[in-house]
Symmetry: D2
Subunit: 244 residues, 4 copies
């Protein structure tokens, strides 16, 4: 069976320039993610903001089964044309996984239909516990019923996302907040997963359970052989029309 | 109790300039809709494409509880700034009802998160039957289990809308197609309803059952006193953080 | 407009016989709930386990718009025949609100399609915070974005309920757990709401915000004039069949 | 990779005793289904009403990944104890596929939470068209956008099922009705699919497209390695409780 082809996109700013973050992710967040994906048997390609066309050329997208996205401070620097291109590919079947602060990316906002304004947030090195609420979902395959993160940025409700088709995780934060932290959507022929963990100042993507979630999400989001849909004028009815 | 304030927006082109349509809707589609809404006890305001700011000034929107939209051939002429303004008001709680070909309006597309490309369509004066599939929903209050339209444009699946939170109607078309023809969504604090009937060449909005659906949808979509949501930095946790 | 008729059912055991609970609810939990409902303009009837037919005769149910249920230790003493009768009335349109430990009642289990086994639970006088996650929902009309309960029994995920059609609240518990604590369903023509707060040893139903939720839920759950549905053999097609 | 183990249950009455049906399914409906499953690479076991424990012993269920059910006139003859056993296994993760008139089986009714009374129905050798409405769903992998059945029993809305988590197909019937004909649910750790086609008097299960749907549904419904859930008293909180 051919390997699932994953493109890992990262704005790659703090993990390139800010010492405290570089220390955690010396190869960038995308480097860390691509590495564990490769180890898990996926084919991983890296792409960043600074590359031509942000590394998301037609050619790259055409051989991407699932696109993973990590952005934070540079959402506004992503070209609208590339956003539109990614959007179109998702509607055609490419899977899409938005991590952490990528809720505010242009592409996730376009997919959501809301502005997905900032949820509550706080940097307090506080504990977060992700509870599985959908134990039948492929994304929780092989997990325990909860994942404990010793340090994670708090993101708290009310989170302005559209009603998820499936809520896989709900997070508890020490300071009193909760979040729907693992949420599934379908857009056209494409599957979309939002997953909250991954503040750049904590080593979250080295956590084996978090890695398992992302690997499972890739498998879940990979395209199927979708039916060819015909759109527009259907002059000849399938069945005879007698009303006239 | 104060009346619910409805603004009825129409591109107002064919029903102003094309004799066969003017004959059916001499006061425009918006005129017909505003009239039955007023009779039903709502306060109705009319707005059209040609008005300054398309008739959708901040002032008008601020006193609109529910906005009804009918557009077909001039979607591209609606200014992006007005679309963004309407979108924002919906997220803040204004109800929104998209009728018929308004699935392709900029605002409905922005709300949906897909491109909502054209479904199958056909003008064949064929019969359409709308079946109620959610008999507990406020939108079907007082209806029979089906509405038969002797003539309606066919819109057929696969319709590229996001998964509805509630499907109120499914339509049967004589030529062999079906459509999820009454679909509910929530976006932010706003409620959104898509309703398929209303091809301009047939007198659909004079149908008493169709009018009842639209009146019920207005009541369902009117804003509540939504909680005030705080967003962004929440420096002070509600509960003490002991992890650090 | 006629008052909405609510029947408040309570097993009425601990609040009748256990001093510490009687002290909190001298008129029983149902007495407390009926009182604030009456004050809010509803017509409230009380019914308990010990009454003939548990107080839920055909006559009582026929004039009940919404049934509220509170049970804990005596679920098994509720007669199957009465459970079946209540189930049938819900399918016909009567609203149903299951409070707290009533998740384990025969009727809520029958409605759910799962066994709704016990979630995690703990009596530790711990804090609970209910976060509004659906600010457009009629059940949160007039609320703040959260309700803080100084003491509530912890109920924690994974809670074996079917996927809610709307999740109105998610609860945070001090000890590290979360719960989907306000969940909406439709069953036939009836609307169903599960609401977690209400451990008998804490004065939860005197909380004005909790009362507001229950009042809003009653309004949301009251029956509409549902379409009459025809079932079974439909020998004569609506449209001619030419295939044969 | 180990084969997925499917048990195909059939009441096996008309296809054993009624000449016109025996002619179509000489090995029974379960025989036909088991055969195409085996050809597709699954391990198929057959079970019928007349076997001891209806062929659904603890041992059989323990080595069943997905159970397929076909019943029509003998629903009442299925022992409650066996229904309860099957229900429990589904909650623990076994997939379940209810075909055609099995909507009225005790087990599907128990899973649904409604009584799932008869939809409209008619035997008129009429055409049915199944439209794919969820082209991203694994169950439509490799299909066209519609399946045309030259003859199928009509089942028409309003169908008293709970809101599906995904609607995969909507059927058109020549006489004017529609049906949500491919519906997905989760119950506990188990996945459930209802699929309408399969009237015993028409050779529906020989249709290659229908076979593909059932094979896809088996793959979709097979259990994952679900998290172990702890239930009941959780005396020791994960996080310290300071409120007291």
């Amino acid at each position: 069976m051919a390997k699932i082809r994953v493109t890992v996109w990262n704005e790659y700013i703090d993990d390139l320039t800010k010492a405290s973050v570089v220390e955690i992710y010396p190869q960038g967040i995308h480097g860390c993610i691509a590495e564990f994906l490769e180890e898990a048997g996926f084919e991983a390609t890296k792409a960043t903001l600074e590359m031509p066309e942000h590394g998301l050329t037609e050619e790259v997208l055409n051989r991407t089964d699932v696109l993973i996205w990590w952005g934070h401070k540079a959402h506004h620097l992503v070209e609208d044309e590339i956003v539109e291109r990614v959007h179109q590919r998702i509607l055609e079947g490419m899977g899409f996984i938005a991590l952490h602060s990528s809720y505010a990316s242009k592409i996730f906002r376009a997919l959501s239909g809301t502005n997905v304004e900032d949820p509550k947030w706080r940097h307090a090195e506080e504990k977060s516990i992700l509870w599985v609420v959908d134990p039948a979902h492929p994304i929780v395959d092989g997990l325990d019923e909860k994942i404990i993160l010793d340090q994670e940025e708090m993101y708290g409700e009310r989170f302005n996302i559209p009603l998820p088709e499936a809520i896989v995780f709900i997070s508890w934060f020490e300071g009193g907040e909760v979040l729907r932290s693992g949420c599934c959507y379908t857009r056209g022929k494409g599957k979309v997963f939002y997953f909250q963990p991954g503040h750049e100042e904590y080593p979250v993507y080295y956590n084996k359970e978090i890695q398992k979630v992302i690997c499972n999400a890739v498998k879940w989001a990979k395209p199927i052989h979708s039916p060819v849909i015909t759109n527009g004028m259907a002059e000849n009815p399938i069945m005879p029309i007698h009303s006239k």
